[in-house]
């Protein structure tokens, strides 16, 4: 039905889609404080998201740390500043690599699962049935999922930071022949605590965006099983674009607000 709704493409279509997504986000915020909060659904979803993301995240984080160690290690050797290898690693992993890896996983693994789940509920008319039974699916299903995605993203970011730094250490010290003491001692030379907070805040925002986009796409899926597949695909692509853009904006703001160490 939705297919035939738009028989001809209109130039305002992208604007309308953006507006709808934004309107959906506002609806979610409005449903956020409504009682009773769905604890059960929240815990189930958080557990589910954690179970589909933890292992891939850890596995992604190790090569991520290693590749940064490789890049930074080589570069730093040319400058003759090997003693700062650890500092550069921590900075790169905590500030950039961890939020990016989190974003990839929360959108790719978590968001796609949320979108597929809500999409199949939509085409089976479960969402309509819920509305008719007097229950708002936004409050009952979407809010717990969005909060679950944020909650899990927060911890995933911490996980990637730790695993990435450990991976970098192993690579730098064992494979590149760096000194363990210098690596550890320079940890706090460049990085500072606000870097970690900034990374965690980013992760929360990424979880929020991924949860909202996935829910929006899922709840507006149409046209049978193929529609659900399309929705999942679009949701992952849109989330990626938004996350990388949001990452850039937040990092730019961060540099304005928090001065680099020693500056």
């Amino acid at each position: 039905m939705r297919m035939s709704e738009r028989s001809s493409w209109q130039p305002t279509a992208p604007l309308r889609a953006t507006g709808n997504l934004f309107g959906f986000a506002l609806d979610v915020f409005r449903a956020l404080p409504r009682r009773p909060f769905q604890w059960r659904e929240f815990l189930q979803q958080a557990w589910f998201l954690a179970s589909v993301t933890i292992v891939p995240t850890a596995l992604v984080a190790i090569p991520f740390g290693a590749v940064i160690a490789l890049q930074v290690g080589g570069l730093i050797k040319q400058f003759g500043a090997q003693s700062f290898a650890g500092a550069a690693m921590v900075l790169a992993v905590v500030r950039e690599a961890a939020p990016i890896a989190t974003a990839l996983l929360i959108a790719g693994a978590g968001g796609s699962a949320i979108c597929a789940d809500l999409g199949s509920r939509k085409i089976r008319e479960e969402l309509d049935a819920m509305r008719v039974l007097g229950i708002d699916p936004l409050h009952r299903l979407v809010v717990p999922r969005v909060l679950g995605a944020m909650f899990v993203a927060f911890f995933l970011n911490g996980l990637v930071s730790v695993v990435g730094v450990i991976g970098g250490y192993i690579f730098n010290v064992i494979l590149q022949g760096g000194t363990p003491g210098a690596y550890l001692a320079s940890f706090t030379a460049l990085a500072q605590l606000p870097d970690l907070w900034a990374g965690e805040i980013k992760a929360l925002v990424f979880g929020l965006i991924a949860g909202i986009v996935a829910s929006y796409k899922g709840m507006n899926a149409g046209g049978g099983p193929k529609g659900v597949g399309d929705a999942v695909n679009q949701s992952v692509v849109i989330t990626f674009m938004l996350l990388f853009f949001a990452n850039f904006v937040m990092q730019a703001i961060y540099f304005q607000v928090v001065p680099p160490k020693g500056a």
Partner: protein, 328 residues
């Protein structure tokens, strides 16, 4: 007791394409109504407008003191507590077993204890004949069972208005007959207002008090069953008697040339078949809103087709026509 639904000037379109316009009708309190129409005429859209899942472009839907077409989201959720809706495939929650599905509205909307919930749920499950299957997941049972479980869930909050979206699609004739009997019995017990959206002629001829027909983007007719079954209106007649001759074509309505060719070939609609008796509740007591057979025809001076209101009238479409031919 049931609730009256008053629909005035309702119009709905999708992206410039009108589904139907200016639909005006009143579903009288406590009566059984059937909405018919060829495939793709927006019967399900009409149903979804009635529960506020879709917003009509124009018009009003009055239920008690609310206007569903204009009211806000919060009011809408309030009004929906009056409704029980049976969706086409039951629309059960796939992650819950049948028991939890039926218990869901009670757990969400009432503060009843689990033992109270259990007795209500088991009563409804027994009513639809699903005793013993309550621990199964919706994916593990047949379409007919899903439909009946959906019905149990729709009934659990004692709705004032029951809407059925094609209750007979995908069911065998025997199960359809049982389901129709169940619908009539439920109407007798609850006194709720019923609306059945279907294109099953047997159901339309025997179950309802009123029949409506959506066709060619408008409401062609809405009125008492006997009025529609006696109607000489070509569309109503063609549809209610499942004929090929008439204005409804395979794709959509026939154009003037086709109709002229049809008239030239001498094809005419067969005489109206007799009107069957209305399906009665299984305990033999009349429903609150039930009217005596032939009352409308008598009151309006319309002569029903010969053989009407006889207990042995076949309900299968076309059968009466065949009998007529045999006699001729």
């Amino acid at each position: 007791m049931g609730v009256e639904i008053r629909v005035e000037g309702l119009t709905k379109s999708f992206g410039g394409q009108v589904i139907w316009r200016d639909v005006t009708l009143t579903l009288p309190s406590g009566e059984i109504n059937v909405m018919l129409g060829p495939s793709g005429t927006g019967k399900s859209v009409f149903l979804k407008c009635l529960v506020g899942l879709l917003k009509p472009d124009r018009g009003h839907i009055y239920i008690e003191s609310h206007d569903l077409a204009t009211c806000g989201e919060r009011e809408l959720y309030e009004v929906r507590k009056l409704f029980g809706v049976l969706f086409q495939d039951g629309a059960l929650f796939g992650s819950m077993n049948l028991y939890d599905n039926v218990a869901f509205p009670l757990r969400e909307h009432t503060r009843r204890s689990e033992s109270e919930i259990r007795s209500i749920v088991m009563e409804k499950i027994e009513l639809v004949g699903l005793l013993g299957a309550e621990r199964k997941l919706p994916g593990e049972i047949s379409g007919g069972m899903r439909k009946r479980a959906g019905l149990a869930r729709a009934l659990v909050l004692d709705p004032q208005i029951m809407l059925f979206d094609e209750p007979d699609s995908g069911l065998d004739p025997v199960r359809t007959a049982y389901l129709n009997q169940l619908i009539v019995d439920l109407n007798q017990q609850t006194g709720a207002t019923f609306l059945i959206v279907t294109h099953d002629i047997n159901t339309a001829r025997t179950v309802p008090d009123n029949i409506g027909l959506l066709y060619h983007r408008h409401l062609a007719m809405f009125g008492p069953r006997e009025m529609c079954l006696c109607s000489e209106e070509p569309v109503v007649r063609q549809f209610l008697n499942a004929q090929r001759i008439g204005p409804i074509g395979m794709a959509e309505e026939k154009d003037a040339d086709e109709l002229a060719a049809e008239a030239a070939s001498g094809a005419a609609l067969p005489p109206l078949p007799p009107i069957p008796l209305q399906l009665e509740p299984s305990n033999g007591l009349p429903r609150y809103t039930q009217r005596p057979a032939g009352q409308w025809c008598l009151a309006h001076g319309v002569k029903p087709p010969p053989g009407s209101f006889q207990p042995n009238v076949s309900t299968a479409p076309g059968a009466a026509f065949a009998a007529e031919r045999g006699r001729a």
